[in-house]
């Protein structure tokens, strides 16, 4: 007897519509289907109708959380087409804002993840500390989210010595808090029971399915665009690529926590070795790009982001293609949610596994359970499903 559960759009906290159709036998999930048509806005077509400088502001709003990564990737792409490179000071300033954005995104995810697992207090703590990073972003760039800091040819503002001092103090605070949180997570039995051994993804499967980012590194594969294909001065700044071998949800939490330490160290190194000089090249706002094509890749907080563009000599792109990291990670959700011999997945594991890929698209509230054999339908809200998952987690301890 098999059920079909469809998880459709609407969610209390992290909202982005995504439809998952699960086929269930008893408690075990047998098959999964994914539907992502709710967010499609037609951005690639719109980019073909706008000059390059207007396209910058549209590309930033593909994703509000990774907006620094999108705008950086776009600027690198257009600079490659024009055959120019940003000055050294601009490269280091770009790294500072990019790593700050990575810290804020990881803190956001950690808070949201523990909220779905049932740990409200950690959610409030993480987001309270995240506000300090948002203050720093506002001080350096002028806005908290969608900062518009990168521009074609460099960055738009310089870093003042006062801002640098406050930034260093905030980094010390964040590092101290992260050490405390890591201790809490490692000593809390509920969290360990809900995340260890759940959502296993083998390294060979991960590479075949095209998985990227911390999700890939949590399966033990050492790939990071900042290491393999450095783009903005990353070959001059030393950092470690964090991997973890257990391939489960616990590994994903650990990788992201450790990446926050690495980002803090990278920002400190960039501030200590900041080159002097111009922070922006003089490029007129409306220009015609020479014909050609260019491909740029950036390590966004969620994984590898690819922008591919083709120019025919005009002032707007002929074709602009964006491949976001969550699209690459979605197939792995299908793989991780399927039960095989020896590996069982329960409905209660769905929030933990789906949250583990750090989806920049969200789940839902309405779940319809169809019982084919008894011809009966019940409707559950997301609160019911989260309650079930928390109760089962407590039982498993």
């Amino acid at each position: 007897m098999s059920f079909e559960i469809s998880i459709g759009p609407q969610h209390p906290i992290h909202v982005e519509p995504l439809m998952l159709r699960l086929s269930v036998e008893g408690e075990l999930i047998v098959d999964v289907d994914v539907d992502v048509s709710y967010i499609h806005r037609g951005i690639e077509k719109a980019l073909e109708a706008r000059p390059y400088i207007q396209g910058l502001y549209l590309v930033e709003r593909i994703c509000g959380i990774c907006n620094a990564a999108h705008s950086l990737c776009y600027c690198l792409n257009v600079e490659q087409l024009l055959g120019k490179e940003a000055p050294p000071r601009a490269k280091y300033l770009r790294i500072v804002v990019e790593e700050l954005s990575r810290i804020h995104s990881h803190l956001l995810w950690l808070g949201h993840y523990f909220h779905t697992l049932g740990f409200e207090t950690l959610f409030m703590y993480f987001w309270r500390d995240r506000e300090r990073i948002m203050d720093m972003l506002e001080l350096i760039t002028g806005n908290r989210v969608t900062t518009s800091y990168n521009t074609i040819g460099g960055v738009r503002r310089d870093l003042t010595p006062e801002a640098e001092q406050r930034l260093r103090r905030t980094l010390d605070y964040i590092e101290e808090r992260m050490r405390y949180y890591e201790k809490v997570i490692d000593s809390e039995p509920t969290i360990l029971a809900r995340t260890q051994g759940v959502g296993i993804l083998k390294p060979s499967d991960a590479v075949r399915l095209g998985v990227v980012g911390p999700h890939l590194r949590a399966s033990g594969v050492k790939h990071d665009v900042r290491l393999d294909d450095p783009y903005s001065g990353h070959d001059e700044i030393p950092f470690n690529v964090i991997t973890w071998d257990t391939c489960d949800c616990y590994a994903r939490v650990k990788v992201r926590i450790r990446e926050v330490y690495e980002s803090v160290n990278m920002i400190r190194y960039a501030l200590d070795h900041m080159p002097s000089g111009d922070y922006r090249l003089k490029i007129p706002p409306f220009f015609k790009a020479p014909p050609g094509e260019s491909l740029s890749r950036v390590e966004a907080p969620r994984g590898e982001l690819v922008h591919y563009s083709i120019s025919d000599g005009g002032d707007r792109p002929y074709r602009y293609k964006v491949r976001t990291p969550t699209l690459a990670n979605l197939l792995s959700v299908v793989e991780m949610l399927r039960s095989r011999d020896g590996y069982e997945v329960y409905i209660a594991d769905v929030p933990a596994i789906l949250g583990g890929i750090d989806p920049c698209i969200c789940c839902s509230a309405r779940v319809m359970v169809t019982d084919e054999a008894r011809r009966r339908r019940t409707i559950m809200t997301l609160e019911d499903i989260i309650k079930i998952s928390r109760e089962r987690g407590a039982k498993r301890r």
């Binding site: 459709g8 759009p9 609407q10 969610h11 209390p12 906290i13 992290h14 909202v15 982005e16 519509p17 048509s37 709710y38 967010i39 499609h40 806005r41 037609g42 951005i43 077509k45 719109a46 109708a49 502001y57 549209l58 709003r61 593909i62 994703c63 509000g64 959380i65 907006n67 956001l108 409030m124 987001w127 309270r128 506000e131 948002m134 908290r144 989210v145 969608t146 920049c360 969200c362 509230a365 809200t381 997301l382 609160e383």
Partner: protein
């Protein structure tokens, strides 16, 4: 107004429960609104709770340009909310289309799909602006002007 009516209006204004719905947004407005629930801005001191189901909510806060696929779900959610209900369009995309003006899959604004009672601009909308919008809306509910 009788005494009971006045009491009901006062109580309704003291605990407006909201439902957040994203109709294809880039997520920036959503995380700013979610930041309102966290300790620094703390919207719960106004009696506001974020609920998961439309049947428990008074105010529907919508972000994002409405995409074609989401339109029917949005209308269904709006119809499931019990009267009296209010809609807040948060962000420039919901107010007037925002950067997505001219795209083939998005509606020109939220009020071309459901009636709207309050508009908050910003790209993304700042948490302080959301707090002010909710407090102004709540005052108007209490006086009966909406």
């Amino acid at each position: 107004m009788g005494f009971v009516e006045k009491l009901v209006k006062k109580c309704r204004a003291r605990s407006p429960w909201i439902l957040l719905f994203d109709t294809g947004a880039c997520n920036a407005c959503d995380i700013e609104i979610a930041a309102c629930l966290t300790p620094r801005y703390d919207v719960e001191r106004f009696g506001v709770l974020a609920r998961g189901s439309p049947r428990h909510a008074d105010i529907l806060v919508v972000t994002g340009p409405v995409t074609r696929q989401v339109r029917d779900r949005l209308i269904r959610i709006y119809e499931q909310m019990p009267e009296p209900k209010y809609v807040v369009a948060a962000g420039t995309c919901a107010t007037s289309g925002g950067v997505y003006w001219g795209c083939y899959n998005t509606y020109p604004s939220l009020d071309s799909v459901i009636p709207v009672h309050a508009y908050v601009s910003g790209c993304p909308v700042k948490p302080e602006a959301i707090l002010k919008a909710i407090s102004i809306l709540v005052e108007k509910i209490e006086k009966g002007e909406v």
